[in-house]
Symmetry: C2
Subunit: 117 residues, 2 copies
């Protein structure tokens, strides 16, 4: 289940911060691209709101009118973005969120006052 994390040093400085370099912009855009699909957002929502903190893939296929491979593809994209992490236990695979990744994004949209005076 190892998968290269392309977005390691991404973000942390708010969008209104000093200057967003081209490289940082590319990395950040990658994360947002992973979030730019309704199915992936719902998948992430289901995983993030799970009572046990994790969700079996077998429970993620049902709610969607999509084939298994498609769901698998979306989970892979979320995984590559570093937003979720998966583990195989026996026959089933379980996914959970990567908390640091989500809380980091939160700080991006802070605004510095917008003092008009």
């Amino acid at each position: 289940m190892e998968l290269e994390d392309v977005t390691a040093p991404a973000c942390c400085a708010p969008l209104s911060g000093p200057v967003l370099g081209e490289e940082e912009a590319v990395e950040l855009a990658g994360v947002f691209k992973a979030l730019s699909d309704p199915v992936r957002l719902r998948l992430l929502n289901m995983i993030a709101s799970a009572e046990s903190g994790e969700v079996c893939v077998c429970d993620l296929t049902g709610p969607f009118d999509l084939t298994g491979p498609t769901i698998s593809h979306h989970l892979k994209v979320l995984r590559q973005a570093g937003l979720i992490d998966g583990e195989r236990r026996g026959t089933w695979v379980y996914y959970r969120v990567v908390p640091e990744r989500l809380t980091r994004l939160s700080g991006l949209f802070a605004l510095p006052a917008l003092a008009s005076a």
Copy 2:
């Protein structure tokens, strides 16, 4: 400079919240799609970090190795996502961020504890 805002009722409930409906997911995904391009992220960054709170389009074209129409296109996407707003004054057009829109996004990534016990 009027432009339909497709994302009006989007967001507010955190991603780890109850259940993300399909419609909400589509709207939210639209906002993230607008943020999923490096050029647009840098544009938003420049606008959000402007001293005066606004930036002339004429100052946004230079930093990029792109043509005017392309920059204009990206600004339109950000505008349609409700992230920025533009105003024409004489010959020039000035863009500024829509603060509510950015601060809203911030709350999306809050996590409820992740209590493993």
